[in-house]
């Protein structure tokens, strides 16, 4: 049992910690709202672009563009999107674990790490790092994220990697974020779509090659951008929840330490009273 003084000190310490977590909770709550809005608003663009491209596939020849070509997979590239800062609960850990587990099934893997946490994890597990990106901030633009997509495309086109995956934490709700791994290269539509389409007479303007040349890199750039927005929304949500839990835990701790301190104080007072009483009794007898 710690001493009464020790307990009073602990109450003070926890109260200070609580002030910090409370402040962080407020900050991430407002950042969270903005990040959630951003991610929900930008989703339709990526989804539509992907949808359209997939549905165009039956009318185009995969040989037309190198980004559509499948090769035997000797080495895969994984773009791992994590946060720069911690205090986000298990979000990064979960993603890294899921990604490494997936990588075990690949012949070999190289990583493009986005965010300091991911870079640290890849180094710790001694995995090959192709490139690293940090400090994208809370509100990145496509200009900030395009270099990441460019590295992925370059690695694929040069043949260093034969597949590219995108690993990030998808935002579902404030309390739910899901580690997600998606193949982004080569861009291959689902098989059944390829054959079962009625042969519509599709017009490509100016021609299929030029159109694909413009659309494919754009889709990749947008997919990476979207993944990063998802990750930011997840980060802020996870941090808000982590800090709220910390604040609540601090409240519980303060309560139980205060109770213990009060009990200790009462016990000390009772003891003093007993000593005084027994002392005066002894005097009266004598």
């Amino acid at each position: 049992m710690p001493s009464e003084r020790e307990l009073v000190r602990r109450v003070k310490t926890v109260r200070n910690i609580q002030q910090v977590t409370k402040a962080m909770q407020t900050i991430s709550a407002s950042k969270m709202r903005r990040a959630q809005q951003a991610v929900l608003a930008s989703r339709p663009y990526e989804e539509k672009l992907r949808q359209i491209l997939m549905s165009l596939a039956p009318y185009t020849d995969p040989e037309v563009h190198p980004l559509l070509q499948r090769r035997e997979v000797k080495r895969a590239g994984i773009v791992l999107v994590t946060t720069d800062r911690g205090l986000v609960g298990a979000m990064n850990t979960n993603l890294v674990r899921a990604t490494l587990r997936h990588a075990e099934q690949l012949p070999a893997a190289g990583y493009v790490a986005v965010g300091r946490k991911g870079i640290g994890a890849i180094r710790r597990f001694r995995q090959p790092l192709i490139a690293e990106f940090t400090k994208l901030g809370d509100r990145p633009t496509t200009a900030d994220t395009n270099p990441i997509a460019r590295v992925a495309v370059d690695e694929f086109l040069s043949g260093t990697v034969d597949e590219v995956y995108l690993a990030f934490t998808r935002f579902v709700s404030t309390i739910k974020q899901v580690p997600t791994l998606r193949r982004i290269l080569p861009l291959v539509p689902e098989e059944e779509q390829r054959r079962d389409q009625p042969p519509l007479q599709y017009i490509f303007e100016p021609d299929p090659e030029t159109v694909l040349e413009a659309v494919l890199p754009r889709l990749l750039a947008i997919a990476v951008y979207q993944a990063i927005l998802e990750n930011i929304a997840s980060e802020q949500s996870a941090r808000m929840v982590a800090m709220r839990n910390a604040t609540d835990a601090a409240t519980d701790l303060i309560e139980s330490y205060t109770l213990a301190a009060n009990k200790a104080r009462q016990w000390r007072i009772t003891k003093e009273m007993l000593e005084i009483a027994s002392g005066s009794e002894a005097l009266a007898k004598g």
Partner: protein, 138 residues
């Protein structure tokens, strides 16, 4: 049967409604899309997009992107779409001024010149679209 139109930018969904006709700057020139158009996929240029619904006309400045037309569903995916009402005319004027000065200062056929030329084009498109919200004098 009217056309089902969606206009989406990376930032948000700008427009979603049924319209009678679309006039849009394609990468190969202006395009008019009416119901029962053949399936089409095209790149977009920069310019003025007009969506006509009955007597209403929605006018946007669009900058690049793609359009998919199939079975009376039209999806416009553009880098940026600004409604005529949203355009800050004063800012566009200033941008035009700046671009013009930059264009004169830049050496011929340099990267700076190209940038200035693109900025000037954007400003001019914005100004032209902004004009549209005023009732036209005939």
């Amino acid at each position: 049967m009217p056309l089902q139109v969606e206009v989406i930018t990376p930032e948000r969904k700008v427009f979603e409604d049924e319209v009678d006709m679309i006039v849009i700057p394609g990468s190969e020139g202006m395009l008019g899309i009416l119901p029962h158009h053949a399936p089409l996929f095209t790149g977009l240029g920069a310019g003025e997009m007009r969506l006509k619904k009955g007597t209403l006309e929605y006018v946007f400045a669009v900058f690049g992107g793609f359009m998919d037309v199939r079975q009376d569903k039209v999806t416009v995916l553009t880098d940026s779409a600004e409604h005529a009402e949203e355009i800050d005319e004063r800012r566009a004027q200033e941008a035009r001024q700046r671009a013009q000065e930059a264009l004169e200062a830049a050496p011929a056929s340099s990267a700076d010149e190209q940038r200035a030329r693109a900025a000037l084009q954007r400003a001019l498109i914005r100004l032209r679209v902004a004009e549209r919200r005023r009732p036209r004098r005939s």
